[in-house]
């Protein structure tokens, strides 16, 4: 058998490929890669007492401080995890268990699967009673609906969880209002900021003052490595840990800490925060070109999410193309060298009708014609040009293929 590393890069992607799926993952920042590689050469378990251990611990804690600054929290509040999904699991399950015997979980229906599936698991195995809150036409949770849901029995609400910005349609959510509302009843709030982090400012101190208990973030969405994220957990919040062991990180998340990944994460976090004011404006301008260009090329296309540029993520454009399967469009654009997304796909790679659009009250047919275009640090005007050039032919052909595979033969 050949020694493995001879073919790490299969290079299946054409050299002129245009990557417009930055919400899935975005290229690692070169500085984060070099810091990662360098930090990996340092020997030492941060829990060890000797000088190598202390050296590693110093690197780890400096990284934690940088990540804490990027979200406006105290360093002690940053709990590194294996990624966004683990952070969300820790927050949702950990808060639910810590709040026993309360049983109610309030969450919008358009959350990421990391939240949806965690809550459903709690429902099926731990006696949670779930109330899925509807989203409005723009994909936003209605604070008044949440208020009524809490008021029905405030004493039995274990937690409220919601996205800071919807990962599919990009709609920014009223997290401050939600946090304040829940805090008035002493209910902990978890904010899933995985898609918002690095794209809009996250101020944990302010959120925490108004009542939020925990915020989840992930490194690979901002140019850091896959495999590390963080739960920013208020010093006043209590969660029951998912992982038991050596008691690292406030006993909340045991396991030897990944110093090199934390260092790389910190490099990406500091760059993202420093660049945010300029990048936010630049990406919003590119996004607005995408939106205007799609509308000009395909007048039937429906923009999903908030049409107000201030109400959505700067790098997100999301459309429904009537009469098309989103996966047909994705395939045709892929063949044309443009990588976009239909939203979420399950583990087998089967495109699913968007549950976000379903939560917004759209039909399943509409939910199948969705396409998400997301921009990031490496996106350029030329990328937008290439996408807009490829779209008309792809749309025309996808429309011909139509929804044929949904109608029974006979």
């Amino acid at each position: 058998m050949a020694v493995y590393p001879e073919n790490v890069r299969p290079d299946n992607v054409r050299p002129d490929n245009v990557y417009l799926d930055h919400a899935a993952t975005t290229p690692m920042l070169p500085a984060a890669i070099s810091a990662y590689a360098e930090a990996m050469t340092v020997v030492g378990n941060p829990a060890s007492i000797h000088s190598q251990g202390q050296n590693a611990k110093r690197m780890l804690e400096e990284a934690r401080e940088v990540v804490a600054r990027s979200v406006g929290s105290d360093p002690i509040e940053v709990v590194f995890t294996g990624g966004g999904t683990e952070a969300i699991n820790l927050a949702v399950k950990g808060l639910f268990w810590a709040r026993a015997p309360r049983t109610r979980i309030l969450a919008p229906g358009g959350e990421h699967h990391a939240t949806l599936d965690t809550i459903e698991w709690l429902e099926h195995h731990e006696g949670a009673v779930v109330e899925w809150l509807p989203l409005d036409d723009l994909g936003r949770v209605d604070v008044a609906v949440l208020e009524r849901a809490i008021a029905a029995n405030p004493d039995d609400v274990a937690l409220v969880t919601l996205l800071a910005a919807n990962n599919e349609v990009g709609t920014l959510q009223p997290i401050r209002e939600v946090a304040a509302l829940a805090a008035a009843h002493g209910i902990p709030v978890h904010v899933d900021a995985v898609s918002a982090y690095g794209h809009v400012p996250i101020d944990f101190a302010a959120l925490s003052r108004t009542g939020a208990s925990a915020v989840s973030v992930s490194a690979h969405k901002i140019g850091g490595p896959v495999g590390i994220g963080a739960l920013v957990l208020s010093r006043r919040a209590t969660v029951v840990p998912l992982i038991h062991g050596g008691g690292q990180q406030r006993q909340v998340r045991s396991g030897t800490q990944d110093v090199a990944a934390a260092v790389s994460f910190a490099v990406a976090a500091s760059a993202a925060v420093a660049e945010l004011p300029g990048e936010g404006v630049r990406l919003a301008a590119l996004r607005d070109r995408v939106i205007a260009g799609v509308r000009a090329a395909v007048p039937e296309a429906v923009l999903n999410g908030d049409p107000d540029p201030a109400g959505r993520l700067p790098g997100n454009a999301h459309f429904t193309f009537p009469g098309c399967e989103g996966d047909s469009l994705l395939f045709l654009l892929d063949v044309a060298g443009v990588s976009v997304s239909t939203g979420s796909a399950c583990q087998a790679g089967i495109p699913e009708p968007s549950h976000v659009l379903r939560a917004m009250g759209r039909s399943e047919t509409e939910a199948r014609g969705a396409l998400r275009i997301t921009l990031g640090r490496t996106s350029t005007d030329a990328d937008v040009d290439a996408f807009l050039a490829a779209l008309p032919a792809a749309y025309a052909q996808a429309a011909r293929a139509g929804l044929a595979d949904r109608e029974p033969a006979r």
């Binding site: 299946n12 996966d327 796909a345 087998a348 089967i350 293929a401 044929a404 595979d405």
Partner: protein, 378 residues
């Protein structure tokens, strides 16, 4: 690409023949199992991953296309409805007819592809005039031309079967191993992919409400009761639970299932012999015969693994039809056993698939004095 060895090798051969190939895995269930168990597998996530790894090695793009809704409507629900109507359907055939060479092909053509290429063991040959014909595979033991008998001329024009000329499955496995496919030794799949444990009766019983009905003999005399006609198939011997033995002491077999009256007709083994089968839903595969109204010699095959039997076939008007309906009537030279309405009769001329019909009615070779015939009324 199902994730099996055949479609992986077929894809590799298509690439080597110079075609531009994209691997497509059909998602036929919204709730796929995670891991393959035993020989059943074309729907699990492990199978999807196997298919993707083969596509990686070949160096072709790979996508999963979701046909779960159409599969449920056209194959699974049809399977249940056919059983409920007392017929014995072949879901693999229905899948070829309505999914692989219909929904999938239509979508593929609309998206710019020319053909659907599969790992079926069958050959496409071209006659002197350039017409495409479907023929049996060289590997007789693996031949799958029967389940492709439903293909129409148009569908055949957009189909490719690169394994047709392979002498044996062993060669395909050897080739897969040589190409480095992890699925080279993956077990063949059998049975019905959407019935995970292979218990067709139990699966159907959960989906078709059983109702107690009568078990009759061929003269119409009641011999006992059953718990639901759906549980019976023509030719079945076991599980009849008739208290009284037959007058001649010989075992009795299910001859007919009549869903409308919820009755099961039983009789001696000899009565299972069928001298005529007919179906009004028939298609020609490739160029249709010039004069099918004139009886012609052929071979008929009535199950995927049955032998072809010499027969005479003819298209005739359906008796009593006022709308000009016709049916394909097939008369085997020797009576056939194991024939039930709902099965597909595929008509061959030599190795060529000429066409097929879904069997609507059969005529027993052994007449009953009290009944004009044993033709199924289903």
């Amino acid at each position: 690409m199902s994730g099996g060895v055949d479609s992986a090798v077929a894809a590799a051969r298509a690439v080597e023949a110079g075609h531009e190939v994209v691997g497509v895995h059909l998602a036929l269930s919204r709730m796929p199992g995670t891991l393959r168990t035993g020989s059943r597998g074309c729907c699990t996530i492990e199978d999807s991953m196997d298919a993707q790894r083969a596509a990686n090695i070949i160096g072709i793009p790979y996508y999963v296309w979701d046909f779960s809704e159409r599969f449920k409507l056209d194959v699974v629900d049809d399977f249940i409805a056919e059983y409920a109507a007392g017929r014995t359907p072949n879901p693999c055939m229905r899948c070829n007819e309505r999914i692989k060479f219909a929904a999938l092909l239509e979508k593929a053509v609309a998206l710019g592809f020319d053909a659907v290429c599969t790992g079926h063991y069958a050959s496409i040959l071209t006659d002197a005039d350039g017409n495409r014909e479907l023929h049996r595979a060289s590997a007789w033991a693996k031949d799958q031309s029967y389940v492709l008998g439903v293909l129409t001329t148009e569908q055949l024009a957009h189909s490719m079967f690169p394994l047709g000329a392979t002498p044996s499955k062993a060669e395909v496995r050897a080739e897969a191993a040589e190409r480095g496919f992890s699925v080279a030794n993956k077990p063949d799949s059998y049975d019905i992919c959407f019935i995970p444990d292979g218990d067709t009766r139990g699966w159907l019983a959960e989906r078709v409400a059983p109702a107690t009905g009568d078990i009759l003999d061929r003269d119409g005399a009641k011999l006992g009761e059953h718990d639901g006609a759906v549980a019976f198939t023509v030719g079945q011997r076991k599980g009849l639970q008739i208290g009284t033995p037959a007058a001649d002491g010989k075992p009795r077999f299910v001859l007919e299932v009549r869903p409308i009256t919820n009755t099961v007709v039983v009789g001696p083994k000899e009565a299972l012999a069928i001298r005529e089968i007919a179906g009004s839903t028939f298609t020609w595969c490739g160029v249709a015969p010039a004069n099918p109204e004139v009886a012609f010699d052929c071979d008929v095959q009535i199950r995927a693994h049955a032998d072809p039997e010499p027969a005479v076939a003819q298209v005739v008007p359906v008796s009593g039809s006022t709308t000009g309906e016709t049916e394909l009537v097939i008369t085997p030279n020797e009576p056939l056993t194991g024939v039930a309405p709902g099965q597909t009769a595929v008509v061959y001329v030599g190795t060529r698939v000429l066409g097929q019909c879904t069997i609507d009615r059969t005529v027993s070779a052994v007449p009953v004095a009290a009944m004009s015939s044993a033709a199924a009324d289903a």
